[in-house]
């Protein structure tokens, strides 16, 4: 049971007052794998994310990353262990340029050290690394634009680039496709597959069922905080519990497609 999976949730629950946002959820994620986390609105997906990334502490249950227990650690500790995340509502550093957003993330090790944070960040080496990452997500042309001036599609890429700059082993993507046009979706899907091929494990929250089905190797479905199904996309597609959960919310068209 104590296998070498990258991320493992064991019987995790989260209560807000009397409300069970997440109830007794367990799943695991391996390296070089995309796990889709889906479910109707309010199913507890983002709460799960916030517990993994450290923004929330589970009420009960354990979360392991590379075999080390991480639940309850502060956000920056978890980030420094190799977990990068994006936000459903983008949160770039608005007053910095796109390039500086990435440069800031490249300092992750310096921030943890005792004194190295006094060193200079503004050097050619860091700049080159940051530009390479921007290039990878296709934002090199916008390197010197203030992040606050970029359109949403670019900001979603910028957030992924910022997470990549942490050299993460696990990437948490929170609805990175929402609000994007079809061509942008295609480009971003390609990028995510590339990232996976480089050996990163990816946990993906996605509303657009077609995108989620296309990208995920395996899927986990939450409804009212409970895990109701898990398995490969083809199995999920025909799972009666899943269809019922979505039908109940009137989202039949997504399931059918």
């Amino acid at each position: 049971m104590k296998n070498n999976s990258l991320l493992r949730l064991e019987n995790v629950s989260k209560q807000f007052g009397g409300l069970h946002a997440v109830e007794d959820v367990s799943f695991s994620l391996n390296k070089k794998e995309i796990l889709g986390l889906i479910g109707p609105n309010g199913a507890g997906k983002t709460t799960c994310f916030n517990m993994i990334s450290g923004a929330l502490k589970p009420t009960t249950g354990k979360i392991f990353f590379k075999g080390i227990r991480i639940d309850g650690l502060p956000i920056h500790k978890i980030a420094s262990m190799g977990i990068g995340r994006t936000f459903q509502i983008v949160r770039p550093f608005y007053s910095l340029t796109a390039l500086e957003n990435i440069q800031a993330a490249l300092g992750i090790e310096k921030y943890q050290s005792k004194f190295q944070f006094w060193q200079k960040w503004d050097n050619q080496n860091i700049k080159k690394m940051a530009l390479e990452i921007l290039e990878k997500v296709g934002l090199a042309d916008f390197a010197h634009y203030k992040a606050g001036l970029l359109p949403l599609g670019n900001l979603r890429r910028l957030e992924i680039a910022r997470a990549l700059a942490l050299k993460p082993e696990l990437l948490l993507l929170d609805e990175s496709f929402s609000g994007l046009r079809q061509e942008e979706i295609n480009k971003l899907s390609e990028l995510i597959l590339q990232i996976k091929e480089s050996g990163v494990g990816i946990l993906l929250i996605e509303h657009n069922m077609r995108v989620a089905m296309g990208l995920s190797d395996r899927m986990v479905v939450l409804d009212h905080g409970k895990l109701i199904a898990s398995g490969p996309p083809e199995k999920i597609k025909n799972d009666p519990h899943v269809i019922e959960a979505y039908l109940g919310k009137g989202e039949k068209k997504y399931v059918a497609s």
Partner: protein, 296 residues
């Protein structure tokens, strides 16, 4: 040089040092502080007490001043971990009033009479006054500017910028809000302490009202007028708000009104400060360089 001009120069230099410290807290790390004069005062009182009661020279007391103001600054930074924005603004106002009351009502600090008889700073046996004291202040100003500039180029500065923009996002790239906010508070308040020590030895008499809340407002105004988050903004702001009242001196009765009106006009028309992103200096430069792409 005219001693009147030297005096104004000394005040501008000391204010520039103190406001540079405030800039690190507010401009770089984004933690509003309306109680900076309290730390200016803690520095001044520490130096004054060490000089008059323990007979320590300025040079020997300086490290103590830095340690004491920095440590109290660390404690006062703790509320910033718990409350933010409006709450933090009001909390720091409160801290200023309480610290001032402390100086005023505790007999050890001279009470309402303040502390007098503070000796001049000596440099290899020569007491410094007039132009020599101005030079000393400028040396400290250069050091303060260097720290400010280095902060913008060092990882810790970048960490503070990310905290200023978005604390949660900053945490997800490994920035500990506790560590870097407190770092900004310690460095910023220690700089205020150094300014305070210089002030005490220059005035040679200090009292609680020198460090009241209106002084904090003036410091924040200097920062805002000059340009928050820029290296040179504090000096520009300290110079403008330091020279203006002197220019208005002939209109002595209207001085404060003109000062208030100008402050209101600047903040209303250039809310980012004169050296800030949308300030008129940058937009003029942009018009000349037409390299719009880099500064978009």
């Amino acid at each position: 040089m005219d001693s009147y001009i030297i005096t104004i120069g000394i005040f501008i230099a000391i204010n520039s040092i103190v406001v540079s410290g405030l800039n690190i807290i507010v401009g770089y790390a984004g933690q509003i502080s309306l109680g900076h004069a309290a730390f200016f005062g803690i520095g001044a009182y520490t130096a004054a007490i060490l000089a008059t009661k323990a007979g320590l020279s300025f040079w020997l007391s300086l490290p103590v001043v830095i340690v004491i103001t920095g440590t109290i600054g660390l404690l006062m930074g703790l509320p910033s971990l718990r409350v933010r924005e409006d709450f933090l603004a009001i909390t720091t106002i409160g801290i200023n009033f309480i610290v001032e009351a402390f100086f005023m009502y505790v007999p050890f600090f001279g009470g309402a009479l303040g502390i007098g008889g503070i000796p001049r700073i000596e440099f290899f046996g020569t007491p410094l006054h007039g132009f020599a004291f101005l030079v000393l202040c400028l040396v400290f100003l250069v050091i303060a500017l260097f720290i400010s500039w280095w902060f913008t180029k060092a990882w810790c500065g970048l960490a503070c910028f990310t905290l200023r923009d978005d604390e949660v996002a900053a945490s997800t790239i490994g920035v500990s809000p506790v560590k870097f906010k407190l770092l900004a508070f310690v460095i910023g308040t220690a700089m205020a302490g150094i300014g305070g020590a210089l002030y005490a030895h220059y005035m040679r008499f200090i009292s609680a009202s020198d460090f009241g809340f209106p002084v904090s407002v003036m410091m924040l105004s200097m920062l805002v007028v000059g340009g928050m988050g820029t290296v040179w903004g504090p000096i520009l702001g300290a110079a403008i708000l330091g020279i203006l009242p002197e220019v208005f001196r002939p209109l002595i009765d209207y001085r404060m009104l003109l000062y208030a009106t100008l402050l209101l006009l600047v903040i209303r028309l250039q809310p980012g400060g004169i050296l800030g992103d949308n300030g008129f200096v940058k937009s003029r430069l942009k018009a000349f360089s037409r390299g719009g792409k880099n500064e978009k």
